[in-house]
């Protein structure tokens, strides 16, 4: 166990070192991401200057939703997205076969050898906005809300990682999986907005088949004591359970996909 942990830490440090070889490009990329997400936030601000409320949510509340989503996504995706997006190429080129022969868990090797520190830009933008929004949105703080905030953020992070893992793992069955990421990001952009503004069908999909509602809309609505469509009084429990439950499903799906893998490259 200690040996495995040591290996994983070594993989992470080697990857970070390789990224930092191009330090200028690395920070330029982060700056570009901060500007890009900042533009989205600015767009929301402009909209709220004109219209005051969006689905009953004011500017600080929407800023809280935006920053919570960005932080949860960054934390979850750093340990999943680029690694599992590239799994399709590993399957297609046959490179995955070489990884399967390594004396280490394949998932752990994939994730830790590519732990994406590039999400630093997301986090650098999300944390100050989150702190400001938590102060400005008049959250009714108590021991429960404080614990709920921390636990729901971890759960949201797990939801992100689990959904991305399930999408990426399908490459081992169908060889291709990247088109599914197009659908994922279509829904992901919706998680910047309150769930109640969308038609009932999209709400239902975002709480079940594509459960991205738990990344931000559900936990932040609970924090702000706002009604959550379809879940009602169980929203807080669903927000906390979504992460662990989806993680278990993702583990089962990964194992199933591994068992179905037959190799596609030559």
């Amino acid at each position: 166990m200690q040996h495995t942990l040591g290996t994983l830490l070594l993989l992470v440090s080697m990857y970070i070192k390789s990224q930092m070889e191009y330090r200028g490009a690395f920070w330029l990329d982060r700056l570009a991401q901060i500007v890009s997400y900042g533009a989205v936030l600015l767009g929301m601000w402009i909209l709220l200057q004109k219209f005051d409320l969006l689905g009953g949510w004011n500017w600080p509340e929407l800023a809280l939703l935006f920053s919570f989503q960005l932080l949860a996504y960054a934390l979850g995706a750093s340990a999943s997205f680029t690694q599992l997006r590239d799994l399709e190429d590993l399957v297609r080129l046959g490179t995955l076969d070489a990884l399967l022969t390594k004396p280490i868990n394949t998932w752990a090797y994939l994730i830790f050898s590519g732990l994406n520190i590039g999400y630093a830009g997301h986090i650098i933008l999300a944390i100050p906005v989150l702190v400001w929004a938590l102060l400005a949105a008049q959250v009714q703080w108590s021991l429960f809300t404080a614990m709920f905030f921390a636990a729901s953020l971890i759960s949201a992070m797990l939801v992100t990682g689990a959904v991305i893992t399930m999408i990426g793992a399908t490459a081992m069955i169908w060889v291709r999986s990247n088109h599914l990421f197009s659908i994922f990001f279509g829904f992901w952009e919706l998680t910047r907005y309150p769930l109640n503004i969308f038609p009932g069908g999209i709400q239902a999909v975002m709480l079940t088949i594509v459960p991205l509602g738990y990344i931000s809309a559900v936990p932040v609505a609970v924090l702000l004591d706002k009604p959550v469509p379809l879940l009602g009084d169980f929203a807080w429990l669903a927000a906390l359970l979504a992460g662990p439950v989806l993680t278990l499903i993702a583990i089962a799906h990964w194992r199933y996909a591994m068992s179905r893998y037959q190799g596609a490259g030559g």
Binding site: S36, L47, Y193
Partner: protein
């Protein structure tokens, strides 16, 4: 010329080969257009008109944004240059009797035509059937909308190609792609039309080239510009396209000479 026609065809047929991605894109776009309409319905919250703009106008505006921005993909153009730069293919293009930026334009025209016909049109028809969509303000505005769409494609391509060619100096396309994304999301009018921007930002935003991507085509369809203004701003758009073409030509010449210096 026949070579570029063949590239257009090639772009179209290449898209045909990746059908699953196109269908996934249709679904992704459908969700995004539904979302944009939902956002406008939510902010209007039952109010019939704000600053003389009705909720029906805004639903139409959101759908038109999908029409003019749904097919062309700036990221595809930038990544094309990035890949050519990374693999060294760009040096091979310099040897061929074709102009690389024109080749890019042809490939993108073919791919955009495919996405427009098979992804954008069905998406917009579905959402329009659900929410309703205003027809063009007049026949003149309808015809000019089509002309503005053509201009939108050209300016979209030129901006993406300029950002792509900048990779010759930066040697990375990642930041360029993200920067253009931020500019387009805010300054094309895709998310919020400039008439809702606080002044003087609205006036400034409506005179920069990205405004011709979504804002002007949609404003023309809705009849927000009279006949004189429609023609005048079309002229301004052509002037911007001319300036951007000049910028791309100069940048490409310098980039090509850099490759000559460092290649071999």
């Amino acid at each position: 010329m026949s070579a570029y026609t063949a590239f257009v065809r090639s772009g179209f047929l290449t898209s045909l080969a990746y059908r699953s991605e196109v269908w996934a894109n249709i679904f992704g776009k459908l969700v995004q257009v539904f979302a944009r309409v939902a956002i406008w319905l939510a902010v209007y919250a039952g109010v019939t008109a704000v600053d003389g703009i009705s909720i029906g106008d805004m639903i139409t505006y959101a759908l038109l944004g999908g029409v003019v921005m749904g097919a062309t993909r700036y990221d595809r153009i930038i990544r094309h240059v990035g890949t050519a730069l990374k693999t060294g293919d760009v040096a091979v293009w310099l040897l061929k009797p074709v102009h690389y930026p024109l080749y890019l334009l042809s490939i993108e025209a073919g791919a955009s035509a495919y996405t427009f016909l098979l992804a954008v049109v069905p998406t917009i028809v579905i959402v329009a059937l659900v929410y309703g969509m205003h027809p063009p303000a007049s026949l003149f505005h309808g015809v000019m909308f089509a002309a503005y769409c053509g201009l939108s494609f050209i300016i979209h391509f030129l901006c993406a190609a300029i950002f792509g060619v900048l990779a010759f100096w930066l040697m990375t396309i990642f930041s360029l792609e993200w920067l253009l994304q931020s500019l387009i999301s805010l300054l094309s009018g895709l998310l919020i039309p400039f008439w809702f921007f606080p002044e003087p930002f609205g006036s400034i935003a409506s005179h920069q080239p990205l405004a011709w991507l979504v804002y002007y085509p949609s404003a023309v369809w809705l009849g927000r510009l009279d006949i004189g203004q429609t023609l005048l701003y079309f002229g301004f758009g052509i002037a911007w396209a001319g300036l951007l073409t000049l910028a791309l030509t100069l940048l490409w010449r310098r980039a090509a000479s850099r490759i000559t210096v460092h290649g071999g």
